[in-house]
Point group: C2
Chain length 297, copies 2
């Protein structure tokens, strides 16, 4: 199945890049091909200074070889070899009215174990309840086609994962997150792969819709400043907590591909507190776990 899975990730990268270029209308992805010394490699695609996307990456990788000590310790003591393939996306829009989006999906085979993991989450600089409902409803509808338990389970896992403990804030409005999804008698590996594909297919239509809806809105220098502060939180999450980033840096991954997730610019201001009653305070008040975004709130 390795070939089929990696092939699918590869075409998803192509498809998503094309759809993002179309929606942005100006930005074009550049491509860097890289090789992993131990086996395999990847294609890093970066878009800079588009009309809507200021800095974005859509990365594909397919790596394999003898199982490293790190992998054995983490996942499977007795494994001799591994195979991993996936796609990883982070888009930082120019406008504070357009949310940051992230998607990551991966397939990992270590010795005789194999599983899928991944997630999508949205980080609006300003939370718009209609957008939040639209985003979560799209995820729920997709999940429900497979199993009605998926959305509530994976939504809670996203709340827990995309969380910044030292700020006591979620990174954004979450989404879905799952890991170590292995095939079972009642839900086969083929079925999981179908679910993974459905998630991947959802990405471009959902995000390009949010781009189109919000990118023409006029914004102020103050809103841009707030965006840079929120980007600072994004940096904190990715460098302090994100498992993919840690894993990549600790296993000598390609630094520029791993850190494509960082924003073009971020600010830190000591003890910044938005004015009570402001749009910024409203957004902060909603950066919490356990919010039902689909219900009218």
């Amino acid at each position: 199945m390795q070939k089929e899975i990696a092939g699918w990730f590869r075409q998803l990268q192509n498809k998503i890049c094309l759809e993002l270029e179309k929606a942005d209308s100006k930005g074009r992805f550049s491509e860097d091909n890289w090789e992993r010394p131990g086996g395999g490699g990847g294609k890093t695609r970066i878009l800079r200074n588009g009309n809507i996307i200021e800095k974005g990456g859509v990365n594909f990788s397919e790596v394999f070889g003898p199982a490293t000590d790190f992998l054995r310790k983490q996942f499977n003591e007795s494994a001799e070899s591994f195979f991993a393939s996936g796609i990883s996306i982070v888009l930082h829009p120019k406008s504070p009215a357009v949310p940051i989006i992230h998607m990551n999906t991966r397939y990992l085979e270590i010795g005789n174990k194999s599983w899928f993991g991944g997630g999508i989450d949205l980080t609006p600089h300003y939370i718009d309840k209609d957008d939040a409902r639209f985003f979560h409803a799209a995820l729920k509808n997709m999940c429900d086609e497979f199993n009605p338990e998926f959305y509530p389970l994976f939504k809670n896992q996203a709340d827990d994962y995309f969380f910044i403990p030292h700020r006591n804030e979620t990174r954004g409005i979450g989404g879905i997150f799952y890991d170590q999804l292995q095939g079972t008698d009642s839900f086969s590996k083929d079925e999981i792969f179908r679910f993974v594909r459905a998630t991947g297919e959802l990405f471009a239509p959902v995000y390009t819709d949010l781009m189109a809806k919000n990118s023409e809105k006029i914004f102020t220098e103050n809103e841009k400043k707030w965006q840079r502060l929120r980007r600072g939180r994004y940096v904190e999450f990715n460098l302090v907590y994100d498992k993919g980033t840690k894993f990549g840096l600790e296993t000598n991954g390609r630094t520029e591909s791993i850190l494509m997730s960082l924003p073009p610019q971020a600010d830190w201001e000591y003890d910044y507190k938005p004015e009570p009653g402001s749009k910024e305070a409203f957004t902060l008040s909603l950066l919490k776990k356990g919010i039902d975004w689909i219900k009218k709130i």
Copy 2:
């Protein structure tokens, strides 16, 4: 000795803040007093938008109480209580011609063990060999008054500590770094405290000299851009590797005091490479371990 040590750190904070305000001539430190729920607290002093310093923090803390699980696991399984006091400084100047500086000194007592740790290091956005020599010579002269082995040992430890593995770059030109300095028969705890005091006394005269020498230089928008990229590396070091930051975040320290070390603004640009032969390339070529900055290079 606890009272004496904390009292000394406290007066050092006052002294350094006064001297920095004098050198900056416009910026003034604001102060936040905070209490630690388990015992003790601190004074966080922040200067923003000075003439020379864009964002800087000079923090004092003195915390104590029952030894936490984290401390026991890290340092002393059988300890019942702990005491820690220290000072921590990071200054981000406005001008890319002025280096970023960091100093941290702390005293830790856990059960029947106690020691000092600390360091000073300089992170120029543009390396100036005369400044580098001046900085390292000042540290060496101070160290040599105590023990001729201190400077070479602590300088190497700084090279190893202030290093960003995923970039294969040092953070800057290093300085000195030491940890777990405990009293011995030949070098008593009193003597170590004298060394710690000498290091602390050195900070303000050395840095205000670098401020005065470099802050009037004219800089371009390109140099400012390069400064923001270097600040991005500073963020990467602090959030991914710095032990004080990790320790603080993991032990529920006061987030705003811990993260005062982050710059006011930082940039990330995918796969940025300075032009061969440029000042930026020259600086990058010197971000390496093992350089003898005092020798004419």
